[in-house]
């Protein structure tokens, strides 16, 4: 019962927020609706027991992709009103793509009902939750490859910095040591001006 309620809650919100993505006038709002859609899709994944994919949706899509979209939308000065003006012109093509997608979904549902494609390829029931399973594999059998993947990401980071960083003369970097060495004795002058004399600096 609770499962059904949760499913309908997540599913309705996913569809509603997806529609809102399309119809929002402000592109920033669109991205925010998209994030809501991702979260609800992650909830749906949790309900079917795919915790890992749920986490990926939140971490990768919300944490990285959607934030990237947000940056792009905010930084680029795109006139979305002019982009929309071609709506009627592009409508037939859009409808064709939508129909193809719909047809594929219908076929996929029927193909799924027909059973697995190869005999004996049913996925055995999991003994451990899939995040636990993936974690155990990564840190035991594939530890070596996992550590190397870390090195690859490090090289990508070093490369990005080496190729884009340059020292500019006009930047002011904080000098932590000098800031820490300041103390009230040298930094603050206490003066007590006499009445009506004003203050000398």
């Amino acid at each position: 019962m609770i499962g059904a309620i949760a499913f309908y809650l997540f599913a309705t919100l996913t569809i509603a927020s997806s529609i809102a993505v399309i119809f929002a006038r402000n592109p920033v709002h669109s991205v925010l609706w998209l994030i809501l859609a991702f979260f609800n899709a992650a909830g749906l994944m949790l309900l079917v027991g795919a915790e890992f994919i749920a986490m990926l949706l939140v971490i990768v899509y919300v944490g990285a992709v959607a934030v990237l979209f947000l940056f792009v939308v905010m930084m680029l000065d795109i006139d979305f009103a002019s982009l929309r003006s071609g709506f009627t012109r592009n409508l037939p093509f859009g409808i064709i793509v939508a129909l193809v997608l719909l047809a594929e979904m219908i076929v996929a549902v029927f193909a799924h009902r027909a059973g697995p494609m190869l005999a004996g390829s049913e996925i055995p029931a999991a003994r451990v939750p899939n995040i636990v399973g993936i974690g155990q594999m990564l840190y035991s059998r594939y530890l070596f490859a996992f550590e190397l993947a870390g090195l690859i990401l490090l090289v990508a980071m070093v490369g990005a910095i080496v190729l884009t960083h340059r020292r500019r003369g006009d930047t002011r970097t904080p000098k932590a040591w000098r800031q820490l060495r300041r103390h009230p004795g040298t930094a603050i002058d206490l003066v007590r001006p006499g009445t009506g004399e004003g203050m000398k600096l």
């Binding site: 059998r141 690859i152 960083h165």
Partner: protein, 477 residues
């Protein structure tokens, strides 16, 4: 701790690279030299660490990598070659580049990737090692980012390399899908069950296409001349030596260990790539006026000869590939170190072949070193470069591919022309503007060492090097 003894070289390089990376964030421009020498020391230490467990410990990490003599042989060539690339950059990046220190760090990480490539026995570690090496390579190619040609080289290499990685991964996913395993032994077992299915064949072709890109064999060579020309010369020295050995050895291991039962399927691909590389490398080099471009075609040409040894598909063939790549690295590194010294009056690098005109009268030592490398690359008999070519042809003939060997010899004769053309320009033409003197004693010593090694004196090495290559090749069968 004993578990990690077989991967001691990789651990030395990875941890040393991390420490140097942090250090290089703090050093001034002058400290970059110190970082480079430390990196060279690490590479030498890693080479020394190959003695012992890393050479014979067998499969590690549930068959992800293996520690055998074949891998150690490759690493014993790759690490010193990487060290030469670090030394080649001495005095090169300090002017005009802010991040001179990170060059050595990136080479160290690339060396880790290459050492995983030669020891991988699983499609996963194969890809991870290849990508670690390639990613460092993309950055290195565009290291002089203010130089338009360097930036172009980096971008080209990155876009085409990413495409090749995609092709390779597609092949890997097909092989995994149709065999259900990523380990080389598992893949070999699947190929051993009768005639390979269409899916397996597609996987094989895509996998080999990805590897052919990395070794720049025809028809996946298009990026090589542009990248070699545009990249800074020390980086080109690196590309032409260590990663090339790693990729060729990776190809040998994949073909023999993973695809061994399907030898008939891959042999035709390797034979085509070998002959196409030899002839295209030889003919396309004719019109070149830039020495780096010419050496790029030379590397394509040489890979073709190495592939002839692989096409034989025997232990003798694999051994000849090992021998060939070792001598190739010494010749190529020597030639590129000479190119590094071609500087005009202001110390700016020159790359035209015309500028070498009459070099023998201006700088006879320099010209003589280049003469030895060119003759050796051409495979002219008194030089040591002749012997590995003989070995690969011998291996091809021994397994019944006489026509292949004859075609290879024909290609070698055609290719000899452009090497001899450089010798002619240096010795017979009127002297051009002299190069400014470069004071790099270590590089000078390396050139001297390389020149002696590939001179006829190199024949003394045939015994020890040959028996080592034989033993290394036998571990694959």
């Amino acid at each position: 701790m004993a578990r990690f003894a077989p991967i001691l070289p990789e651990i030395i390089l990875a941890i040393g690279g991390l420490v140097l990376m942090i250090a290089s964030a703090f050093v001034t421009r002058r400290g970059a030299g110190l970082i480079s020498w430390l990196a060279v020391a690490l590479l030498i230490a890693a080479t020394v660490a190959l003695i012992g467990a890393p050479s014979h410990a067998g499969p590690l990490f549930d068959g992800l990598v293996v520690a055998d003599l074949f891998a150690s042989f490759g690493k014993a060539v790759i690490f010193p070659a990487a060290a030469v690339a670090v030394i080649a950059a001495h005095g090169w990046f300090e002017r005009g580049t802010e991040h001179a220190a990170e060059y050595a760090v990136l080479i160290l990480f690339a060396a880790v990737g290459m050492s995983v490539m030669v020891s991988s026995t699983s499609l996963i570690s194969l890809y991870v090692g290849l990508e670690l090496n390639s990613l460092a390579g993309y950055v290195l190619a565009s290291y002089r980012r203010h130089d338009e040609r360097s930036a172009e080289a980096g971008l080209k290499y990155f876009v085409l390399g990413a495409l090749a990685s995609g092709i390779l991964l597609y092949g890997i996913s097909l092989l995994y899908g149709f065999t259900g395993t990523t380990s080389f032994t598992g893949v070999a077992a699947a190929f051993g069950r009768g005639a390979p299915t269409l899916g397996l064949l597609f996987g094989l072709v895509f996998l080999l296409a990805g590897i052919a890109f990395k070794i720049s064999a025809v028809p996946f060579h298009m990026w090589t001349p542009d990248v070699y020309e545009g990249a800074p010369t020390p980086v080109t020295t690196f590309f032409a030596t260590a990663p090339k050995v790693a990729s060729v050895l990776l190809g040998v291991r994949v073909c023999i260990e993973a695809l061994g039962p399907a030898t008939d399927a891959w042999r035709q691909i390797v034979i085509f790539a070998a002959l196409a590389s030899i002839f295209l490398g030889a003919i396309a080099a004719y019109g070149q006026t830039n020495i780096k471009r010419l050496l790029a075609y030379s590397s394509i040409n040489n890979v073709g000869f190495a592939l002839i040894g692989l096409a034989a598909g025997t232990a003798q063939g694999a051994s000849s590939v090992l021998f060939y790549m070792t001598v190739y690295v010494v010749m190529t590194a020597g030639a590129f170190l000479c190119v590094l010294w071609m500087r005009d009056g202001d110390g700016e690098p020159i790359e035209t072949i015309a500028s070498m005109s009459g070099l023998s009268q201006r700088q006879p030592g320099f010209a003589f070193a280049m003469f030895i490398f060119m003759f050796s690359l051409a495979g002219v008999p008194p030089m040591f470069g002749f012997w590995p070519k003989l070995l690969v042809f011998d291996a091809a003939v021994a397994s019944g591919y006489v026509a292949l060997a004859v075609a290879g010899i024909l290609g070698a004769v055609i290719g000899a022309y452009y090497y001899l053309k450089i010798v002619k320009v240096m010795y017979l033409d009127a002297p051009a503007e002299p190069y400014s003197r470069v004071r790099e004693p270590v590089q000078g010593a390396l050139v001297l060492f390389a020149a002696v090694a590939v001179s006829p004196l190199g024949y003394l090495l045939i015994g020890p090097l040959g028996s080592l290559a034989d033993r290394a090749a036998e571990t694959l069968f």
